[in-house]
Amino acid sequence: MPTGERETIGTHLKESGVSRRSFLQLCSKIIIAAPIGLSLTRRATAAQVARIVGKARRPSVIWLHFQDCTGCTETLLRTSAPDVAHLILDVISLDYHETLMAASGAQAEAALRSAIEENAGKYVLVVEGSIPTRDDGVYMELGSRPAIQVVKEVAGQAAAVIAIGSCASWGGVPSADPNPTGAVGVDSVISGKPIINLPGCPPNPYNLLAVVLEYATMGRLPELDEFHRPRFAYDRVIHENCPRRAHFDAGRFAAAFGDEGHRKGWCLYKLGCKGPVTHAACATRHFNELPGVWPIGTGVPCVGCTEKGVVWQMSTVETVPIHLATPPDTYPPIYSTAGQLKVGAGALVGAIAGAVGGAAWVASQRFQSSTEAGVVRVAADIAHAEKLKAKPASKAVAHSDDRKED
C-alpha cells in the first residue's frame, strides 16, 4: 500500500471486481445493523448509503490480538456467504491482522511498524482480547514486549480504539475469578483516546463495520453510553426484542431442557435466561445473516455475554430480576377476589376470639352475679339494721341494771 492518499472504497471495489449489487446488499445490512444512532444510516435507501460509502477513503484498520480466542475474528470471517467476508475486507483496509496475514516473526513486526507509520493518527485500532496487568504484564508478550506496552504504543498513534468482544471491553473470560493474569479491558490501560466497546462473545461484526464506516464517512464516532458502548446496538436489553417475548407475557415458560414447553419454543427465563439484563441487539441483528442462529433462537438461554456483572458472575441457571416489568398477557377480572379470608388468617382470628371468650368466661366465674350481689347487700343491710335496733335495747337494760345497783 503506497503512502499518501488512499483510494476510495468505490474505486477499490471496482478494481476488485465486486458487483454493485453485493455492495448495495452490504449497505442495506449496515442500515439494518444500525437503524438509529448513526448519521451514516440516517439515509433512506441503501443506494444513498452506498454513494456516501463509495466516496469515502478506505479506513485503515490495525487489529491486535491479546488474551483472546480469536472468536471475534472468526465471527467477522464466518459470514453465511463467503462474499460478505471478502466484501467487508474490501471496504475496510485491514492493514495489520495477525490471523489473516501471511507474515510472521520479524516480518510481521516490521509490517506493524510500517502500518503505524503510514497512517499515524488516522488508523482505527481494533483490539481483540484482554490485557494482562499482573506482575508487570509478564503473562503475555509480543516480540519480547509485554502486551500492555504494545497496546499503549499502538493506541498512542491511533485516531480511535475499538475494543471488540467482551475480553477487550471489560476483561471477558480471562478476567473470570480468580483472574490469575490480572486481565482488564482496553479502557483500563488506555486514556486520552476515544474508546468504543463492542462487548459480546462474540459481538456481531456488523456493529464493528457500522462504527468503522461511520468514522470513515462522517469523520465521527457514534453516540456512546456510560460503558462506552454504541447506543445503536446496546441501548436495549435482549428481552425487549426477544422473539419468545410473547410466551413470557403469556406466562408460558420452559421448565426443563427438552420438556414440552422447551420443544414448543416457550420462554427460557426459568432456565436462567439473562435476556432481561443483557444489553445487546442479538434479537434483531442476525448473526451470519441468518435469523435464529443465536442462543435463544436455538433454545439455549442467553448467558449475558455482553454484561460484565452477569456472564462470569452468575450461575447459568440463576434467574435475573426484571427491572422494567411490563403488563402480562392476562387480565384481572372485573370484580377482584382480593381481600378474601384465607384459611390461616381465619384460624388465627378464630383462635384469638376463642381465647378472649374463654378468658371472659373464666373471669366471670370468679365474680358474683349482680342479683346475688343485690341479695347479699340487702341481707347485710337488714342484718345491720336489726343489730342497730337491738343495741339501744340492750343499752337500756344496762342502764336499768346500773340504776338497780345504784
Binding site: 426484571i322 411490563t326 403488563p327 402480562p328 387480565y331 384481572p332
Partner: protein, 309 residues
C-alpha cells in the same frame, strides 16, 4: 329568690331546644335539590370500551407518568396488578362471560365525579375537587388515614397503602403534574387505538354523543355513562356490554353525597324526629327515675334507713 343548679340546667335545656329548632330549620343548608355545578374548565377522559384492544400500554404509561414502581407482587415478573391498588392508579380489566357472548375490556381509574363521594366523606378535605379543572386529588398533609374515602366511593377507586408506616391513598389524579406542563395524561398519550382520549368534558361529551349517533345500536342503551350517572362524572364511558358488567354500577342521576344529604335533611325536617327522640328519652328517664324512687322508698320502709342515691 336563689336559683339552684338544677333550676339553671333545666332552664338552659328548655330555652335551648326551641332555639336549636329555629336555627336548624331556618338554615339555607336544609333547602334540598340544588344542581351540581360543573367546574368551569372541567377536563376528563372518554373511554370507548368497544375500540379498546386491551394492550395495557396505558397501565405501564400510568405507572411511569406517576413515577410508581410497577406492581410485580403477582409473579415477580410482570406488572400484573389484580385490581387498582397502592401502586396502580389505572388498570385494564376483562369481562368475559362464560357463555361465550360478547366480551369487553374496561379501563378503570378515578371517575372524577362532579360531586365526589370521597371528598364528601373525607373529614379533613384531604380529597379535594379542583374548582377549575374538576380533578379530584389527594393531599398527604391533610390525610389522617381514616380510609373513609375508600369506603364512600361508589366505584371503589381510592386505595389505601396497607403495607407502610406512612401510608398513602392512591388514586388517579388525571396526571395533574403533566397537565401543568401542557402534556396529556400518561394513559391517553400512549393509547394506540384512541380508545381513551383526553379533553374538556363538554367536548368529550359531544364526541361521545356523535359516536352514538353515527353508530346506532352499537353502544349499550345508546348512552354515555357519566353524563348524568352519580350526578355526572368527568370520566365518560361508552360500551357495547352493559355498564354493570364492567363494574360501573347503575347509580341513577343523583350523586351519592346528594342522596345521603337528602336523607339527613329528611331526618331533621321541622326538627320532628329529634324532638320525638328527645320526648321519648325524657319519658324513659322519668319512668326509670320513678321506679328507682319507689324502690328506694320501699327499702327505707323496710330498713328504716335513707336510701343512698
Amino acid at each position: 329568690m336563689a336559683i339552684t343548679r338544677r333550676q339553671l340546667f333545666t332552664g338552659i335545656a328548655k330555652a335551648g331546644v326551641p332555639a336549636a329548632v329555629a336555627v336548624t330549620v331556618g338554615t339555607d343548608a336544609l333547602l334540598a335539590g340544588e344542581p351540581i355545578p360543573v367546574p368551569s374548565a372541567a377536563v376528563g377522559l372518554l373511554y370507548d370500551a368497544s375500540i379498546c384492544i386491551g394492550c395495557k400500554a396505558c397501565v405501564a404509561a400510568c405507572a411511569e407518568a406517576n413515577d410508581t414502581p410497577p406492581d410485580t407482587r403477582g409473579d415477580e415478573l410482570h406488572q400484573a396488578p389484580n385490581d387498582l391498588n397502592d401502586l396502580t392508579r389505572n388498570v385494564i380489566k376483562l369481562y368475559k362471560p362464560e357463555d361465550g357472548s360478547a366480551f369487553s375490556f374496561v379501563k378503570r381509574q378515578c371517575m372524577h365525579c362532579l360531586d365526589p363521594a370521597c371528598a364528601a366523606g373525607c373529614p379533613f378535605q384531604a380529597l379535594h375537587k379542583d374548582p377549575e379543572s374538576g380533578v379530584v386529588s389527594w393531599t398527604a398533609e391533610k390525610c389522617i388515614g381514616c380510609r373513609y374515602c375508600t369506603i364512600t366511593c361508589p366505584y371503589h377507586i381510592p386505595r389505601f397503602q396497607w403495607m407502610g408506616f406512612n401510608p398513602r391513598v392512591t388514586k388517579c389524579e388525571l396526571c395533574s403534574h403533566r397537565l401543568e406542563k401542557g402534556l396529556k395524561p400518561g394513559c391517553t398519550s400512549v393509547c394506540p387505538t384512541g380508545a381513551v382520549i383526553f379533553g374538556p368534558r363538554s367536548v368529550l361529551l359531544l364526541d361521545a354523543k356523535q359516536r352514538i349517533k353515527n353508530n346506532p345500536g352499537r353502544y349499550y342503551q345508546n348512552r354515555v355513562y357519566g353524563e348524568i350517572d352519580n350526578g355526572g362524572t368527568q370520566a365518560l364511558y361508552l360500551s357495547k356490554v352493559p355498564f354493570e358488567k364492567l363494574g360501573l354500577p347503575e347509580l341513577g342521576p343523583e350523586s351519592v353525597p346528594a342522596r345521603t344529604l337528602r336523607w339527613q335533611r329528611r331526618f331533621y325536617q321541622y326538627f320532628a324526629l329529634p324532638a320525638l327522640l328527645y320526648a321519648g328519652l325524657v319519658q324513659v328517664i322519668r319512668k326509670s327515675l320513678k321506679g328507682h324512687e319507689q324502690e328506694a322508698h320501699e327499702r327505707e320502709k323496710e330498713t328504716g334507713l335513707r336510701a343512698q342515691l
